[in-house]
Amino acid sequence: MVFSEINTFLLTAFNENRPLVELVYALIIVLASGAIFHKFLKYYRLSSYRGFRYLGNAFLFFGLAFLLRFFWIEGQLFGYLVEGTVLYALFFLAFGYLVMIGGLYLVYSLIWKHFEKGSVTSPQCARLHAKIKATHIYYLHGFAVAIAVLDYFFSPERQYFMFLSQLTVIGYAWLMVFSNYKSQKDHKTGMQLYLIALTLAFVGFLANFLTDFIQPIFPVYIVYVYFITTMVFIDMLYAVIMVPKCQKNAKD
């Protein structure tokens, strides 16, 4: 009974204040992504370690995607953006591309060493691999563009290609981080939080993918999807804040 009352309250508040909800939702995600990107960029500038750049880029693109999404949704809510127009198509393609490239950069931050092997061992190899790396990055961007275009032509309602690809990509990232986590004797706080963020991201994308099937029978479902997505970024930001603190405490 109480649960159903909460759900009714949530859904009413969501529907009645949709533009404000979208603003708060976008603000939280964009600010969290910006802070994460800034932190990794700072470490990249100091160390030139590419892993920082790739993970930072993932959050740069996620942040841009949700910023764009905000204008896209608000435009539709206020009637400025109508389906079938060129502007709508551009928003659709750009959002799909940005989310996809963000996910691809996230996975690449975990596997880049396999593709740019020598670059972590010497400056000479690093220079050589900088050229090779560029080719890999073009493939990632090309794949993201292809997914966005496929969705535009074959799945314009729900972007199923993007959601399915993201589920694969995030699922793969989760397996990699989980295997790292299991192989470590002392379970680091940052890694635990990262694993939670990836779990939530997977659940979030799955929930988004299933929206069309579940929302008609359980309307408040969409509110939970928003909540899960927000938690991914808050958890990730918390992880980024906690790592230096835990390291400092361990040293003391």
Binding site: Y43, S47, Y49, F52, S109, S122, G190, V243
Partner: protein, 91 residues
Amino acid sequence: MPKKRERLDVIHDILKVIQDNNNSMKPTRLLYASNLSPQMFKDYLDELTQKKFIIELQDGKKKKYYSLTDKGFEFLQKYQEIRSFIENFGL
């Protein structure tokens, strides 16, 4: 077999040696201390100079020596934090 040092570790080791030697070290001594081949050592030294982690100076007898810059000290200070991020996020 000891694990091969990563680029980041080599940079840390070179900077640490200079710092521990009163922030002044001659190239030959630094080469021995770095445990690298002369070619690799040159590559690292070029990179560290280019990135302004170290600076090449001359003493009264016009002999070359290397000192850490502020950025070099910052790298040493943040090294453990950098390592911690790499381990925590599997980078």
